[in-house]
Every structure is written in structure tokens, then in C-alpha cells.
């Protein structure tokens, strides 16, 4: 069973095709780096995968179910540009809310567990508004991992994070990869992404330019990819 199957996806903004016939498969356990220059269509694609937007043509299957399906959605975890956390609620309330929405058996237990894992247990009753950026980012991670998603979609997760926050996120991602989850992340910070990735998908102005394993060359010189498969 494929974790994700993207089949001939097009997305039009008006008459402008932001995605043109994108198609690729992701097997469970893979970590895919979604690369491309500014405006290539990474965010557009990730939003479609996350069920936040409908493709104009084509289909997206998550574990062989339509991506807008309820059970497909419960298998997905997202971290976007915003943290997706309510400022006026406490850390615990936030996690309990999402645990409830995802229909977890014991929302309370799941919430506490993830507070502990992200090191937020001792501030669990603090309002998010008062948290520092690092703590908020941790909470966003806890929110995304809470329901043990089998497919993680991350849009530029390393942007504007410092070395420590990046290390935390990387270790969490590694762990959930080890547990068999699938990860797809877009980024411009090639080094951080390629260290983690097992596969690479490169988009060029809305078209699939390359998809395949991450090779040693890419690690050695991140611009290798753009030079080889991108435009001049």
C-alpha cells in the first residue's frame, strides 16, 4: 500500500497552471524532500495533499483513500507556516482540543504524553500567548504528532528556527520515521532537509523535474540538484 499517490494533479489559479500534471508515489517510511525554487508550487502541492485545497484535475490518494476523506485526514499531520495553535488557550487545552477533534480514545492521556515528550509538561497550563517562539514551535510539533499521523506534511519547517529548534525537530522527525511514518517536507534550507531525506522530488515551475533517491552527490553539494535538473 502506498502512503501517498499523486496522480496527474493540476492546479490552476485562473488560467495560470501552478501545478502541471504532477504525479509520484511515496511508500510508507520514506522521507521526501520537496524542492523547488520560489514559486515552483511546493506550498500549493502540500496544501492539496493536506486536503486544504482541491486539485483542478487529478487525484490524490492517501493510503488508497481520497485525500478529502475523513479517514485519510486522520492519517495526516501538518506543520505549515503558522503554528496552528490558539493563543488564548493553554498548552494542555490546545492539545486536548485537537485530540478531541481527531477522535482519540483518551484525549487527556495523549495530550499529557506529548506535552512530556516535547518538554512542555511543566508549563502545560500557561497560555500559549506567553510562550516564547521556541516553545510555541514545540507545541506545534506536539499538535502535529499527537494523533500519531502516518503521513507528515511540513512546509518549510526549518525557516527562521535557530540551531537548537532545528535539532529538536530533526530528532523528532527521525524518531517518527524510525517508527514507520512517512514525511514530506518542502524547504529552501537544502542541507538540513537533505540530511534527513531518503527521496527527493524537484518541482520546476509547476512541473515535476526529478524524482528519485537522495544520492551522495546531493549531500555533498546541495546546489547539485538545481544545476542538474533545474533550468539555467
Amino acid at each position: 500500500m502506498r502512503a501517498l499517490a499523486v496522480e496527474g494533479v493540476w492546479k490552476f489559479y485562473g488560467d495560470y497552471p501552478a501545478l502541471r500534471d504532477i504525479g509520484f508515489d511515496v511508500q510508507p517510511g520514506q522521507c521526501v524532500a520537496l524542492l523547488g525554487r520560489n514559486g515552483a508550487g511546493k506550498t500549493t502541492l502540500l496544501r492539496i495533499l493536506a486536503g486544504l485545497s482541491r486539485p483542478s484535475k487529478g487525484a490524490v490518494k492517501v493510503f488508497d483513500k481520497d485525500h478529502l476523506d475523513r479517514s485519510a485526514r486522520s492519517a495526516i499531520g501538518i506543520i505549515g507556516h503558522g503554528i496552528g495553535i490558539y493563543d488564548e488557550l493553554s498548552a494542555l487545552e490546545n492539545l486536548r482540543l485537537f485530540a478531541g477533534l481527531y477522535g482519540l480514545q483518551s484525549p487527556d492521556k495523549a495530550a499529557h504524553q506529548w506535552l512530556e515528550r516535547t518538554g512542555l509538561e511543566r508549563v502545560k497550563d500557561g497560555l500559549v500567548r506567553e510562550f516564547s517562539r521556541g516553545m510555541r514551535q514545540r507545541l506545534a510539533v506536539a499538535r502535529a504528532f499527537l494523533h500519531r499521523p502516518q503521513l507528515l506534511l511540513l512546509d518549510e519547517p526549518f525557516t527562521a528556527l535557530d540551531d537548537r529548534a532545528i535539532a529538536l525537530l530533526q530528532s523528532l522527525l527521525k524518531e517518527s520515521l524510525a517508527q514507520g511514518s512517512t514525511v514530506i517536507m518542502s524547504t529552501h534550507q537544502l542541507r538540513e532537509a537533505l540530511e534527513l531525506a531518503t527521496h527527493v522530488v524537484l518541482i520546476n515551475r509547476g512541473k515535476l523535474a526529478h524524482t528519485g533517491l537522495r544520492t551522495q552527490e546531493m549531500l555533498d553539494d546541495p546546489t547539485y540538484l538545481y544545476r542538474t535538473y533545474g533550468e539555467a
Binding site: F12, Y13, G14, D15, G39, S56
Partner: protein, 225 residues
């Protein structure tokens, strides 16, 4: 080719309208109570019906857009709404002129009049809403929803004279109002050219919309590095 057909249709409609006006002025006698101004009705009522027809078209186009995601339906929806607004304005203004002469005031807060105005404002709101959304697909989607919601007021306009006591004349076509048959047939006959004009306008606007989309797409490619 398409333009030629449109233009010739336009000429036919204009000739038809001229004939009707001639008939109205020369062929029909003044009405007993209201006098010469009564002839406004030959525009007032058909304009209202044309306007409703346009709104209905917009409704159907909007639903079709949501079903098919084809931007052609969106252009039909805007075009029909714009033309509908024009005819709505014609209805309002002719009614107001009439009111000025018969009632002595331009406006009264009568249900028929008011609901017509609400309806007009709602569809004007539709156009304002369109300007607030940049991206064409999103614009089409949101304004389709708006169009569907707006249409809920149209029956209200139509039936307002039935539901409430109003100063506005009772409907002669289906209700208790009475009208001489010569007047009545004139009413119907004059509706034909107005409807034709509406159709032509809608077609022209749709062409414009299509061109506009093409231009936008071209400009986007120029403006994208």
C-alpha cells in the same frame, strides 16, 4: 463571426424597440386615471422581468460553476449579474419617475420598492465582493456562493406585494390587478426586445471576460520570472 451575429441581433432588437415605442405613443390611448405617464409600465415591468431572468441565469451559472469548475460559467454569472443590475436600475428609476408623477414623491418605504432595492444592493455587493478577491478561481468560487445566497431575496421581491400590504400596484399578470388587453399585449411584446438586448449584452460581456482572462494569464507569465 460571433460579433457579427451579435451586432445584427442588436440591430433587430433596436428596430423592434423603435416599432414598439412608435406603437405605444401613437397606437395606444392614454390610460384613464394616470394619463400619458402610464406608458412607463411598458418598460417598468419588462425591465423587472428581464432583471429577474438575469439573476436566475446567474444562479444557474453559479451552481454550474461549482459543479464543473469551468470559468466560463463564472463569466456568465458576472455578465448576467451586471446586465441584471442595469435592468434592475431601469426598473427602479422608471418606477421612481412614475412615482414622482403619480404619488408626488420619488420614493416611499413600501415593501415592493424596498425589497427591489435590497435585491439590487445585494447583487451590487456581489460585484464589490468580486473586486476584493484577487485570484480568479477563488473569486469564482466565493462569488458563486454569494450569488446563490443572494438569489434567496428574489422570491421575496416577487411575492412581497402578496405577503404585505403595499402601495405598489397589485400584479396584473397573475394577481388581482386588472389591465386592458391592448395594454397587456403591449407589455408582453415590449418584453421581447428588452430580453434580446439583455442577451446581447450578456454575450458581449462574456466575450470581454474571456479576453480579460487571456490578458491576465499573459500578464502573469510576463510578470513571473
Amino acid at each position: 463571426m460571433r460579433e457579427k451575429i451579435l451586432y445584427s441581433l442588436g440591430i433587430v432588437a433596436a428596430l423592434f424597440l423603435a416599432r414598439n415605442i412608435w406603437k405605444m405613443l401613437v397606437g395606444l390611448p392614454d390610460e384613464a386615471f394616470q394619463g400619458a405617464i402610464f406608458r412607463v409600465i411598458f418598460f417598468h415591468v419588462p425591465a423587472a422581468f428581464t432583471c429577474f431572468a438575469c439573476y436566475l441565469t446567474a444562479l444557474i451559472a453559479s451552481i454550474s460553476y461549482l459543479k464543473s469548475k469551468n470559468l466560463k460559467w463564472d463569466s456568465l454569472s458576472v455578465s448576467a449579474t451586471e446586465v441584471g443590475l442595469a435592468f434592475g436600475a431601469a426598473n427602479l428609476v422608471s418606477g421612481m419617475i412614475w412615482a414622482r408623477i403619480i404619488w408626488g414623491i420619488w420614493w416611499t418605504w413600501d415593501w415592493r420598492l424596498t425589497s427591489s432595492l435590497i435585491c439590487w444592493l445585494l447583487y451590487a455587493g456581489y460585484l464589490v465582493l468580486r473586486r476584493a478577491v484577487e485570484e480568479p478561481t477563488e473569486r469564482a468560487r466565493l462569488s458563486a456562493v454569494m450569488s446563490i445566497l443572494s438569489f434567496s431575496v428574489v422570491p421575496f421581491v416577487f411575492f412581497s406585494i402578496k405577503w404585505f400590504r403595499t402601495q405598489h400596484p397589485q400584479p396584473v399578470l397573475y394577481g388581482e390587478g386588472k389591465m386592458d388587453s391592448a395594454y397587456r399585449s403591449m407589455l408582453y411584446i415590449n418584453w421581447i426586445p428588452l430580453l434580446m438586448i439583455a442577451v446581447i449584452f450578456v454575450a458581449v460581456r462574456m466575450l470581454q471576460e474571456k479576453r480579460q482572462r487571456e490578458i491576465d494569464a499573459l500578464r502573469r507569465t510576463v510578470h513571473a520570472f
